[in-house]
């Protein structure tokens, strides 16, 4: 079980590490068959390394021989394995001979928007930055809610919540401020507080916008994360 937290600054110069609560999905949303009975997901074996198409092509280089073998002996079906559940498996890399390789070197391939490879480099570890080493900075950048909604594709959202009375006071004040401005606030990393947020290690860097509402003594503070802007594919992107 992981608990996500964010070190959040506010417009009054305060800051606090508070909880991020993910949206809850219905526990009963699991799929059922037409008669309403639950079904389970399984992964089954279709072919093994000996009966895979490439292996058969190597075993029967002549297409005529391969066709004859397929008709006479069904070598493409491993009767002992086909249809069995795989069960838990380990991920391995396969060398040119169809065997696991033990000395694979991992490389990160960077592609442009057309899918063309533009760079190869060693994989980079990108740490999460929701709770940075140094106190975060209030960016002061506010965007009208109506404008933000039509500008970004918010693909993730977390509710910012308190775990004690002091945090409640801090978060309620922030939510009331944002509601009063009818705006969302840019929440980010870096010295200006405008950089991208990385919610977990090696995750997509996203733009964070904080929305606040209040209702009596209650508040609702949501951290919206935008994976990209609403742009035409040929347009110039604005998110790192």
């Amino acid at each position: 079980m992981t608990t996500r937290r964010i070190w959040l600054p506010d417009h009054r110069g305060r800051d606090a590490v508070v909880l991020l609560v993910p949206r809850q999905r219905s526990a009963n949303a699991a799929p059922v068959d037409p008669s309403g009975r639950p079904v389970t997901f399984t992964r089954r074996i279709k072919a093994t390394e000996a009966s895979a198409p490439n292996a058969l092509c190597q075993r029967f280089p002549d297409p005529q021989d391969l066709a004859r073998a397929l008709m006479q002996g069904d070598p493409e079906i491993d009767v002992e394995a086909a249809g069995r559940e795989t069960g838990p498996c380990d991920r391995v890399y396969i060398d040119g001979c169809g065997k696991p390789t033990y000395s694979a070197r991992l490389v990160e391939v960077v592609c442009d928007r057309h899918g063309t490879e533009i760079e190869r480099r060693d994989p980079q570890f990108v740490p999460a930055n929701l709770v940075p080493d140094t106190p975060p900075v209030w960016s002061g950048k506010l965007l009208r809610r109506n404008v933000a909604a039509r500008r970004f594709a918010f693909t993730r959202a977390y509710q910012v919540q308190h775990s004690n009375a002091l945090e409640y006071d801090f978060l309620y004040g922030l939510a009331a401020y944002l509601q009063g401005q009818d705006s969302v606030a840019l929440v980010g990393s870096g010295p200006k507080g405008t950089g991208p947020l990385v919610p977990e290690a090696n995750a997509t860097a996203m733009k964070g916008l904080l929305e606040g509402r209040t209702r009596g003594p209650e508040y609702l503070l949501i951290l919206h994360l935008a994976a990209h802007e609403l742009l035409a594919p040929e347009g110039e992107p604005c998110i790192d």
Binding site: R25, F41, I45, T86, V92, V110, A149, H228, L230, G235
Partner: protein
Amino acid sequence: MSAHLELIYRGQPTAFRMEPVDRKRLLGGTRIIALDVEGRECPAGHLTRDGKYLLLPGSTADTYVDAEGNSVERSTLSRGDGAPAPARHAEEPVELEGPVPAHELLDGVATRVHRLDAEALHSALDAALRAGAVFRLKRPRTTDTTYLLANDAGVFLVSTEPCGFPFVGPNQAVTDTELAEDDDDSADPFAFDDATEVQR
């Protein structure tokens, strides 16, 4: 090949071409590959825990099975809570309702984004979109909500799933132990929702 969608506004239909928009198409992306000692790319496979079978790419089949172990066609499945599955883009014309407040989009998370291109946009709809209006597609039997909107970059269709966050009061403090695991989309590859692909 782009998909097509016909929307009806004030009784006037407008046909759109739909082009999916995601981070990969806008910004590119990265992927991790493995190279052997001679620099050749090594595909990933799976080795069963008993070490008996090496499963090469394409040698497994993902399926749903019932209690008796019989395979169940995915198209016949439904959600256990009775909620309808998210709507796919319909072949039939869909009516627009609204305008609705643009910030209504913030009540959900985007699951799919398309850019729309119309050869002849209905003038009233064009004017409303240019003025910043946001419309909702009328689809009564779905849990997700789809919005039509426009900005400087064009006309977009954004499908959203509700967040469902409640207001919280001073006595509703949460503790670490109350929090469940994050919404993990990797648990079930056949999950009903089409969460946006996470790329590095």
